[in-house]
């Protein structure tokens, strides 16, 4: 009978080597945990899976004035003079913009079309509004939109790039990381990708929209203009377009809206494509209540029956504005 062989003792490791190995393992674990925490996004936005949370836009509107008009309508032939007359009738740009403000102007440049076709905000309108904003003491003017077509092509062909170069405005292009989910309790818009980047800097917001026919919702004016701040596959809202356009009156509380009706795209909108689609109307409407402004635009610029414009009724019924523009304090002037 023999004794079983005794295993050889394990080779000893030194204290130094033990500490090194333990330290390396600990650092790896700590690095993994740290990396995981860094990558973990509590508000990671994947539709259907995201937590209900997101950006809440502040109101950019001013406290109502008991004396000055809520809406002004200006008529004339010279684009800049008419814009100035409309805003002047509201009390001037100084009512809305103070020294040091960073002002976001949101045009509608959804398409890469030339200005004469009236499918986009006209460069003369941007020039006039931006000049007034700068004259009022703003330190910076931002111009931002998330167009349907290539942003570079839209800024170039709409003529807004040239105005931005001329007046040293900051054109903001939508980049992938310019968006964050917005959270709101809209009729249909609740949690969606939103062009957030301009709002990180802006202290005041001005909507500057053309007045035009729209194949799906009858008209694109100041309320519909905010559609250009959404990201993602926003066309899926087209089936509920009146609901979402009325939601924009809830989403955005701008400082001022300007509806450019100097040349109105009367048919084949929103793209147009022919000069015959455009009618010179020589009018600019400015105001603090975009429901009222759009109501005027639909009846007096597009010359249609307000009864058919569902989104105006929705916004009015939800208390987001007054579609009976004659009941607001308004002023009509000739430039």
């Amino acid at each position: 009978m023999t004794n079983p062989p005794t295993p050889e003792p394990s080779p000893q490791i030194s204290r130094r080597e033990f500490l090194l190995r333990a330290g390396a393992a600990g650092a790896l674990i700590a690095g993994s945990v740290g990396g995981g925490l860094a990558l973990w996004q509590r508000r990671h936005f994947v539709p259907g899976f995201q937590e209900q949370g997101g950006l809440h836009l502040p109101s950019y509107s001013l406290a109502p004035d008991k004396l000055l008009p809520e809406m002004a309508i200006a008529h004339g032939a010279d684009h800049e003079k008419v814009v100035r007359a409309a805003i002047g009738a509201l009390g001037g740009m100084g009512r809305f913009i103070q020294k040091g403000d960073v002002v976001l102007i949101k045009p509608n440049i959804a398409f890469d079309r030339p200005p004469a076709l009236a499918a986009t905000t006209h460069p003369d309108a941007l020039r006039a509004v931006a000049r007034m904003v700068l004259e009022a003491g703003a330190v910076k003017v931002l111009v931002a939109d998330n167009p349907i077509n290539s942003p570079a092509g839209c800024y170039l062909k709409s003529g807004l790039l040239a105005v931005a170069d001329e007046l040293h405005l900051d054109l903001l292009y939508p980049e992938t990381n310019s968006f964050a989910p917005i959270q709101m309790d809209g009729e249909i818009l609740r949690n969606w990708a939103f062009f957030e980047a301009p709002f990180k800097r802006a202290t005041k917001v001005i909507g500057l929209a053309p007045c035009k026919d729209h194949n799906l919702c009858h008209a694109s004016m100041t309320m519909k203009n905010w559609y250009g701040l959404l990201g993602g596959r926003r066309n899926q809202f087209h089936q509920h377009i009146h609901s979402i356009v009325s939601d924009f009156a809830l989403m955005m509380k701008p400082t001022l809206v300007v509806l450019d009706g100097m040349n109105v795209l009367m048919k084949n909108g929103p793209t147009g494509g022919r000069l015959s689609d455009v009618k010179p109307m020589g009018t600019v409407v400015a105001g603090t209540d975009m429901v009222a402004v759009d109501s005027y635009g639909y009846t007096h610029l597009l010359e249609r029956d307000i009864a058919e414009l569902t989104y105006i009724h929705k916004a009015n019924d939800r208390g987001l504005g007054n579609m009976d523009w004659k009941q607001t304090r308004y002023k009509e002037v000739q430039a």
Binding site: P7, P47, D112, L216, R233, R274, S276
Partner: protein, 390 residues
């Protein structure tokens, strides 16, 4: 005797204890750790640039699973075979299948039958214009992606069975900052291309000498050629810009094969008094009626009054059935419909709805009539002349 446990090494063999890690093994290990770190970094970067629209459902994309994609066949006279059950294959006028013979002048014209054939599909080729300098690549859009180019305007095109958009911009050599945009919308058939062309037509446009269905209008050229509706839009009205727009239009009109399939019924519209540029085409639910399909409609000046006239060419059976349905509908909602004596072999009824008059006839496979007339006497006189062939 005590049995050795299985874990115990066999006599004479040393237990395995690693005391040394080879260099290749270390390299592999570090590589794996490095790779994991790189993957982690990539996930971090991707997370920072996350596209919120990436995972949203695009329901319209599912349509592509319903029928095979035919968009990659050629344009040069090649006929794509449309799958059985595709509604578009049954869209055109049904062939005459016996029964009461149709009068010779009401038999479907050859091009009507041709319209029943599947439309040629275009190859996804770039728009090339000799001598013109492109500002970028040609963009292509399908029915699923058309909204990415024209957004809310897309449904109007899709109603006319839009197939593909090719679009490209060209700079104007002699005019800095000027450009010409080309939009070539290809529909499933010439008659549908005519439909969308007519829907957007400028009634005051000047006719073109290089395309029968076309006009120029201030800042561009617009025409229908074959199954394509082409818009060539200038950035301004400078002579150099408009000159390039014209030469581009002429080039495209020559390049697209002429085809008037399905447009035969348009030629049956009365010629006298026709308001130029007023002819329109509606494929489905014309005048809001499901029984009215492939309808041409036009305006006329008749004895100082404006008359709106429509015409649908089909089989005699279908025309008779449509007339009965129209008669029944016209008598509803407070309307008054009354059959009149036949005129020149045509069955005729008259109806008054909401203070306006309509006068409808059916002769063989033809259903047509006057719509929304303010003056019933003028409507009767106009229809009498049409049916008498005057």
């Amino acid at each position: 005797m005590t049995r050795h446990s299985q874990e115990s090494p066999r006599p004479g063999r040393k237990p395995f204890h690693r005391t040394k890690v080879s260099l290749p093994e270390r390299i592999v290990s570090y590589s794996i750790v490095g790779l994991l770190a790189a993957i982690g970094a990539a996930v971090w970067v991707a997370g920072r640039n996350f596209d919120p629209g990436l995972y949203s459902l695009r329901a319209e994309a599912l349509k592509s699973t319903v029928a095979p994609d035919e968009r990659l066949t050629t344009i040069q006279g090649e006929r794509a075979s449309r799958p059985i059950g595709d509604p578009a294959s049954n869209r055109n006028i049904a062939p005459h299948t016996g029964g009461t013979p149709m009068p010779p002048d009401q038999t479907d014209s050859p091009d009507d039958h041709e319209a029943a054939a599947p439309a040629p599909a275009a190859k996804a080729t770039a728009i090339e214009i000799p001598g013109a300098k492109p500002m970028g690549d040609t963009e292509f859009y399908s029915p699923d992606s058309l909204y990415e180019k024209i957004d809310g305007r897309a449904p109007a095109y899709i109603e006319f069975h839009f197939q593909q958009l090719r679009t490209r911009s060209f700079s104007v050599p002699d005019s800095a900052g000027s450009y010409v945009d080309v939009y070539e919308y290809r529909m499933d058939s010439p008659v549908n291309a005519f439909g969308i062309f007519a829907l957007e037509r400028d009634p005051d446009g000047k006719p073109l000498d290089f395309a029968a269905d076309g006009y120029s209008g201030g800042m561009g050229f617009y025409f229908r050629q074959g199954n394509c509706y082409v818009q060539v839009i200038a950035s301004d009205q400078k002579p150099a810009t408009m000159g390039l727009a014209r030469s581009v239009s002429e080039h495209l009109a020559k390049a697209i094969p002429a085809d008037d399939a399905g447009l035969g019924a348009r030629r049956r519209l009365p010629a006298q008094g026709l308001v130029p540029g007023s002819v329109k085409f509606t494929q489905d639910n014309a005048l809001g009626q499901a029984f009215l399909k492939d309808v041409f409609q036009a305006d006329y000046n008749f004895e100082g009054k404006k008359i709106s006239f429509f015409l649908m060419a089909t089989t005699p059976e279908a025309a008779a059935k449509a007339r009965e349905s129209f008669f029944a509908f016209s008598g509803r909602y407070g309307g008054k419909a009354e059959a009149l004596p036949d005129i020149a072999g045509a069955k005729v009824f008259e109806a008054q709805n909401f203070g306006k008059w309509k006068l409808i006839y059916q002769r063989g496979g033809e259903l047509g009539g006057v719509l929304d007339a303010q003056d019933p006497v003028a409507a009767r006189a106009f229809l009498g002349k049409v049916l008498d062939g005057k």
